[in-house]
């Protein structure tokens, strides 16, 4: 197999940017391009009504830093702690001419605003007979590894992937994060954009100019003919590490990063399994009704005849995320577990 590791090479200068900077870049460039793009959420600027500095946080993870000074409080809106009102306001604004990018500081907070996401924004277009557009992006941080405890460390992408009307983006590196954010902002449907909080300082070469990456097109960070490994978000980086270690022993893994999980590039996965006949799926979410299960079931249905071995899922266990570092580290799928799963499917 010989597939491009990156789908859309971009002309012009590049520079090393962090995942955080890449997203900030995308937001700034789109806000300059389109006055209807606004940002809303808690602390997206920070310092509202305070005696001290404005833009005190620029988001608690610093992703929106500097946007309020450039675009003003009219377009970078700090809100009270009222997630249902925030998401609802974004959806209503999207129905009335704006392209809001709204932040859920931790995506775990969908618990207090889920209706406005899956029952309202996601369903408008269908319920209303195709007569509405709801161009909005909901950014949220996901994932464990931050010692943030059970209520601030969930993935939750399976829950939104299940929902018709939503698109779900899970970038695994700074390059994809910028291109996919620009695509998300220009997309006319509600997009869930999930940022893994432990990747914010991950760096790579990122084009300085604006570029977008189409949804539904996987990337292929490693290529090989022995075993297919599908992973998303930060698990891609662990899958790559596993693949590189296995490569030393001559085991060649085909690592697939769907980049968007809804829509999902199932062709890319099926084509790869046609060659390898072996599939390992790595998902940081809990196992039950996970994306790992979803992808496994697609292959078990459409790629069954190319399968030479059982499909292995490497996921988090069916437990909340524990606080203690030793437990949390054991909770998150590790490189070792991925390697072990690859060996399994090779021996099976």
């Amino acid at each position: 197999m010989n597939k491009p590791a990156i789908i859309t090479p971009v002309a012009g200068s590049t520079s090393v940017k962090t995942y955080r900077e890449a997203i900030n870049d995308a937001l700034r460039q789109e806000m300059r391009r389109d006055p209807n793009v606004i940002i809303m959420g808690e602390e997206v600027s920070g310092g509202a009504g305070c005696p001290g500095q404005d833009d005190a946080y620029g988001g608690v993870f610093g992703v929106t830093k500097g946007l309020m000074p450039e675009f003003g409080r009219e377009r970078v809106i700090d809100t009270p702690i009222s997630e249902s009102a925030i998401i609802g306001a974004a959806a209503g604004a999207a129905n009335n001419g704006l392209r809001p990018v709204v932040e859920l500081m931790f995506f775990d907070f969908i618990g207090v605003c889920f209706d406005q996401i899956f029952n309202q924004a996601a369903k408008f277009r269908y319920m209303f007979g195709g007569k509405s557009r709801t161009p909005m992006v909901i950014r949220g941080t996901v994932g464990a590894g931050w010692r943030a405890g059970a209520q601030h460390s969930n993935m939750l992408h399976p829950v939104v992937t299940h929902m018709p009307g939503l698109k779900v983006v899970m970038p695994s590196n700074a390059y994809d994060a910028k291109g996919l954010m620009i695509e998300a902002i220009r997309d006319d449907d509600p997009v869930i954009f999930l940022e893994h909080k432990i990747m914010y300082d991950n760096k790579c070469e990122v084009p300085d100019e604006s570029y977008s990456i189409p949804f539904g097109e996987a990337a292929f960070p490693r290529q090989g003919n022995d075993v297919t490994i599908v992973a998303m978000s930060n698990m891609v980086n662990r899958a790559i590490e596993a693949a590189d270690q296995l490569a030393k022993e001559g085991i060649e893994c085909d690592v697939i990063d769907p980049r968007t999980v809804s829509p999902l590039d199932d062709e890319a996965i099926l084509e790869s399994v046609e060659v390898t006949g072996r599939l390992v799926i790595v998902d940081e979410a809990h196992e039950r009704c996970s994306l790992a299960a979803d992808i496994s079931s697609i292959v078990a249905e459409k790629g069954f005849h190319s399968l030479k071995a059982p499909i292995r899922k490497v996921t988090a266990p069916h437990t909340p995320v524990p606080f203690a570092p030793e437990l949390e580290d054991a909770y998150v799928p590790s490189v070792e577990k991925i390697i072990a799963a690859v060996r399994d499917v090779l021996e099976a």
Binding site: P80, S84, A85, G88, A91, G92, N95, Q116, F128, G129
Partner: protein, 323 residues
Amino acid sequence: MPYQTDFLLRVYRVMKTIREFEERCIKEFEAGTIPGFVHASNGQEAVAVAACIDLSDKDIIGSTHRGHGHCIAKGCDVSGMMQEIMGRATGLCKGKGGSMHIADFDKGMIGANAIVGGGPPLCNGAALGAKTRGTKDIALSFSGDGSANQGTVLEALNLAVVLKLPHVFMFENNGYAEGTSANYALGCDSLAERNRSFGMPSVCVDGNDFFAVYEACKEAIARARNGEGPTAIEATTVRFDGHFIGDPQLYRGDGEVKAARKEQDCLQFFQARVLKEKWLSQEQMDTIDAEVMELIEQAVQDGLSAPKPNPATDLLADVYCTY
């Protein structure tokens, strides 16, 4: 004379249209021509019309599960509505929405809502869109006495004040949330006071008196258009029918509904007032009545004869703008 004749004629026509539309929905539902379940708003016409009569198509309203009246007041085509309620491919939402999900974006009607409290947060957004784009358009949300206790509505009140949004919160207090009385479910003595405590002007008016509601809305809408922020209005009114069509309404008092229909009919009040003041004549209203009956009859005939959706082409369509 404080009101233009054509304004009063328009008001009467819309109120009457809502009344007859709902009464006919009840008949059609009982005849089995309307699938699912329907929440009729007859008895509450004055609120819907007073709230919407001065709004343009660019102004936005967000409605509830009991939304027919709001749609008609905002200018939705009654034939398109009836076709939607009957689940026809030519309905306002191509038959995919139904009674609880009628929307017409060209008319600034962004949707009935089957989730109690779903609308006010969305109307904040519509108001934010207008404010950010610098138009003078406003948003108006409808809520009930029951939905006033939903956290989403309470959050929306605060956010509207914080962002000074051009949003009029209309609370239709018809005394009931399904079979639960407002007196029981609202722990406060006065909903209007509770709304005011969030930091916005707030009033309580007789929702069966069109003119009382209209004057309150006029002030609130002006405030919103002038960038002075949100207003809350509680309008006390009466639900002439069940929570849903077919509701046995065991929870209502003996003769309560009959008495309400006799003594608290906003439409009768309107007629009496305009006749007493000699603002309109009986003839003028009779003419409108006849035209309305025809309009509704036509809407029903359209609905009954309209094509049904085709699963092969329609089931999977319109989930996304782009795939």
